[in-house]
Symmetry: D2
Subunit: 434 residues, 4 copies
């Protein structure tokens, strides 16, 4: 079913990238092709190669590429000269989005949030969230967690754990303390207890926090999934210590773990939630920060941004909400497929002593080795499967297939993955045997 990427007779001129694109580029290095079009779970390069996409823009394309319903909505909007850019002026597209978001997301979940349209990047939504928490509480310190990833602008970067990303700041990153995530010190240490102890101790050196910022599943950090118990404890601790609870749902939200939010049915309600990535549905830049009304203490324009109302994204997001979130069918499907995914990964993992991580359709295999995981994903790419790693040492192979993938195609991709793991392990044994 996979069309192997074909080596073209003629090697196209790619010198423009070397000449003009900054050395900061990254994915283009491990997947050195030039892509032209994409639909559903498939991407096509300019030399006839076809690739199954198990990366989905790091969970930005939960509904696949160019979903026809979303695409048509956008074509109609543009064709009708719909407002493309209007700062934060009210538009028909904004109203439709707010109406749909209220009716299809908030009300069915009995959630009462105000919607803040931040600059259309996840990092901007996080910056807005921590600004507001600091303003509301009058405190400065934010608690984030080991292996957390929250963005690359200075405020969000301070909350990010990764040393290489942090090093890029060029200034010390302040006003944030990183505490151990669920399971960080192994199964015998309850890290919520540790946090509670430190916050309750007036001599611990940990200042009273404005916010606790947490991902329910750490996408970039290695697909660590916190338990509902632990998350409830963190929510309780936040409340007890006067801090706002911010759930960064940028990667785990929008259906990736089954529900629209990753924290549904866990028994707590965050004070602030950040969303981005799959929010527009089509991969268009879009981010927002949800606020409990009592904390919506912004002055007009206190946080702003030129692209904070991306109307094209409103249009596709509204279409996605209507199409996928009007009934339970989609969510049931995602959960079922997530179980199937877990089962397959568990089989592979059991064979090699790997560990399955994650939740819903945000799962991966911790191979314990960045070299091994990298070898596997490179081999997968050569076989037509786009898949990436995450984790502190890039040791976790993560499966972020579109949520809309059909079971058969999911199986095809997992077959490739399994094969490439087997081959890599065989190579390893071979090397070890020499």
């Amino acid at each position: 079913m996979i069309t192997r990427p074909k080596p073209s007779g003629r090697i196209p001129d790619r010198s423009i990238y070397e000449r003009r694109e900054s050395a900061v580029r990254s994915y283009a290095r491990s997947m050195p092709r030039q892509f032209g079009r994409a639909e559903g779970v498939w991407m096509h390069d300019d030399q006839g190669g076809r690739y199954l996409d198990f990366l989905s823009g790091c969970s930005t394309l939960n509904y696949g590429h160019n979903h026809p319903i979303l695409k048509q909505a956008l074509l109609d909007y543009i064709g009708g000269d719909g407002i493309a850019h209007g700062l934060d002026l009210h538009t028909n597209a904004k109203k439709d989005f707010l109406d749909a978001f209220e009716a299809l997301i908030l009300q069915p979940r009995a959630l009462d949030y105000r919607v803040m349209f931040t600059g259309p990047t996840g990092t901007n939504a996080v910056e807005a969230a921590i600004k507001l928490a600091r303003k509301v509480t009058g405190r400065e310190m934010v608690i984030a967690f080991t292996n957390g990833f929250h963005g690359m602008t200075l405020g969000a970067l301070a909350c990010t754990g990764n040393a290489a990303k942090r090093g890029g700041a060029g200034v010390p990153l302040s006003h944030v303390a990183h505490e151990p995530y669920d399971g960080y010190y192994g199964p015998d240490v309850d890290t919520a207890d540790l946090l509670e102890q430190r916050l309750s101790d007036p001599s611990s050196g940990l200042d009273a926090p404005a916010a606790i910022l947490v991902e329910t599943v750490q996408g970039e950090g290695g697909l660590n999934a916190a338990s509902p118990d632990w998350l409830r404890r963190i929510a309780d601790i936040a409340k007890a210590h006067g801090a706002l609870l911010i759930v960064d749902d940028i990667q785990a939200g929008c259906g990736r773990t089954g529900g629209f939010f990753s924290f549904e049915e866990m028994g707590f309600t965050p004070d602030i939630v950040t969303l981005a990535k799959s929010l527009s549905g089509l991969g268009l830049p879009f981010a927002l920060t949800l606020l409990r009304p009592e904390f919506d203490q912004w002055s007009p324009g206190e946080h702003n941004g030129t692209f904070r109302g991306n109307n094209h994204a409103f249009v596709t997001a509204t279409a996605a909400l209507r199409h996928f979130w009007s009934s339970e069918a989609f969510q049931r499907d995602v959960r079922r497929r997530g179980d199937m995914l877990e089962a397959r990964l568990a089989g592979i993992a059991a064979e090699y002593g790997f560990e399955v991580r994650g939740r819903g359709m945000m799962r991966g295999v911790n191979t314990g080795s960045g070299d091994l995981a990298g070898a596997v994903t490179t081999a997968c790419f050569d076989a037509g499967l786009i898949i990436e790693t995450s984790g502190a040492h890039d040791e976790v192979i993560k499966v972020l297939a579109p949520l809309t993938i059909d079971d058969a195609t999911l199986a095809v991709g997992l077959d490739i993955l399994e094969t490439k793991i087997r081959e890599a392990m065989a190579d390893d044994y071979a090397v070890a045997a020499e």
Copy 2:
């Protein structure tokens, strides 16, 4: 020619905004309409009102709304299932953009820059720029200027002068010193001399800077335009003191002041340039940071972001570059129209003792009073003209018409502005006479 916005018989239900949109919204307050479609210089609300747009998304819509050539390019791309989102993978759309940017912008100006696709917001481009300057120099302090505006995420916000915006940070903003901009202390004080003295004095308390970050015209800060002499001095000072010169051309670039860059033909070349706003041409989120190759010292992925390659924006940006920047015609036109604009504003200003500010088609009138300027822009909006203020006290009425506006329509808008200024001044006299 202007269609007065019509009071509709039936007042539409706008309660969703009160109920669900954060209090942070701003433009929607001073322009309380809901807009549906727009083309060229015109915006249309959902009750039949038509508005002439002298705001242009704060210079994001230099080519007007939904320019047909850009729009068609995007429709074709979407229709053909072009990649919408691909992280920073190479795509046909990216290649086309880089080719066009090299051929039409860099080469004709003999500029040698690498292009860094940052998150698609201006603030992200600024964050990337100052990160890199700190990395390259190993220094931490950045010099920004009084009344400068550079964005709302923590690193860029530290470079921003506005106290209300800064106050939103909730933490002290560090590692930046604000020095007086050109003319800040009046015509008799050369602020470049002041800066040179402080940087040359090892006891001034001003640490050696990683970068000097400057706008050639301060859009949000009140349309202060620095003189070429002063900018050259700043460039020389940066070089002499081992700092990188960053020109933030987010608002003044992309043709607003006549050339593609606002610093063209001034006799210096910035080390880093940030662009955003009108870069996509259609108002789509897009930002980039240009780097001299010798300073492109990024590690792969050291600064990243989910939406850092917005392919829809590549498509419209490429169309815009090809259509407007393949010849000198557009630039000549902008300059000519800028002169016309200046002449009209000078006439009004002379009458009331106001001051004309700005450069090219980025001009305004400093009325000396935020109340007055606000009264004028409100009256203009009621008369169908969208126009805004800027400056420390919102005292400057700024004209940011699309660059593509025809002379007659420009005159119509300026007529409204002039009339409303007259009326406001008459009211003032009336009040004063009571």
Copy 3:
């Protein structure tokens, strides 16, 4: 043997303190007497009261008040017009001190340190230590520990755990991470393991440290004594991760725990050591920072201070070194008396379920309640015994008797303490029984 403080017939006028001394005063509140003279273990107030001193200036008077040999040396020096103040010029007094410190302290312990005369306060010695560690490593973050106390100037305060002290800063305290001290999470959690894990994890959010700053016994933090094993682990971790190990021996050094340094015979050598408090022997302001020669990378005057060579303190310090540290006798005596102290405290503690803490003659009893401990120390003071509390909740009664106290007088003081604890506990039972 104790002379009860006599209530004088006439209450002296103390209004000058209310009128002129800042509200920041503290000990004067819990011990509301005015003292005139002191010798050995005794302090005398101006109304004929005599007090046994189990506080010793928080370990600043390890040799008691006005030790006759130190006192005579100072009288001779002043009488002979010895240099009192000479900035950091060489003086006979400085030379004598350095000679004695080398011969009596460094050489017998095979320690090779350079001596840096900092401003004569402990906090200044700590500031110098962390400055140097940052300079040497080129890193900014310092690891300090829960419940650590290192001083009140901004750099040292950032390393201090106590929230009330930290709150006084008025600015966020940055560039320091507080990690759990030995035993912080109970006996089952090895906090050195936790630290090792976080420093070895490139995504933990804990930046690479310039230094690890540790007290071997936390004087202000509640007399927590780290085990030699844990301290060796910390020393190994510092070395493995390129950080300098700084032992803050300001309270635990100068004989308090038995040896001159608190880390002797533990199998590791700190890179930097801070000393102050009992260094002068007579209670005169004096502090120094010891540096491994390879880290003595200061430029001349890079850290300075008007009083950095306190010659009076040199004189008494030299006399103290010669008198107490020329043989093993004093140290043996301190250790023996420390054991005696421990035995007495253990007896009391066992009776009430309290916990004995500390090491050598730096011991205390954790009563578990700040109210209880405060009631006991207040009652002791009324009975003529000066004794104080420490700990996050002031719950630890600390015995910091002069090291020179004779066994009988030590017993007298401990009798008072025991009696007052019994009385307080009886009161508690009485209250509980009501």
Copy 4:
């Protein structure tokens, strides 16, 4: 009258300094002798050399070395077993000091201050001052001035202008803005106007200040003396903008400029004043912070320190207050001698185009060259005169003779200075003529 330092036949062993004293030592390098005793204006080295002291411990020995009255008071106190160290307990010595300070300093000047005994270093007094200002105002930013010097601990160092000192911090110094001091931009620019403009401009990037911290004469910064007009303006600006005015009188206070405080009779009253250096009179470590009662908002112990009540210093300070400050005689004498000093320096300066700087007996000559000034002071030292430089480039020769010097001896020292300047200038001409 000067005894030339005699080259001794036998060179003493000084290797202990190389071996054991940190490379941070500074004065000992430019004055490579070992001193033994001192009285009045004279210092004696251990080889029979005698030196006239025009440095006075950088204004720490305003009453000369070992003044007999202060010395006798201290000998009596120590001989009588007076309390040497008692933390901040009330002592007879403290009461005497407070009584004398109130009666002799505060009341005659109609000043109402609370006295805060900080750690006995100037830097600690500054740290306390800015902490309190931040606490009282709830703001974080402190305004300090170009060329200001306030100490070396992290909070005070951030307020210090000198780049080499700042560089020692190893972390960026934050929460302080350095504004131009009086005359910084030459006689035509009123820097108080500049400050007023920036603070009144909500877009200047200068955050609302907690305090303005100023020296009336910048001792380390090159003896720049602010005009009373300018200082009054600064005081007014502080008040208008809700900031506390802190005068750092550590070097200029205690009589150096004529009055006890350097700001007397200038028509404004600081909110906070810091004192140290000559406060004890004998050169003993002592510092305090004076607070207007309404700002004495400290919690008990919120800022503390082991040596914060240096009783020996109380004793000598009290003796000094009684002896020198009970009548106007001393102040009149200092002023008269200051005029004499100015006249002599003006004569020298006129001859060579130098500039006389300073006020009272805190004066110097700006030679315009650090090399020249260094050559002169070195030659002076060889001729038996201890004198030092200050300023950003060490270009100012500063005369800080004891205030108690008799006119004839002052003339002797100035003769040496004049001769050595003449010789150095002749050498320069000779070099230039070659």
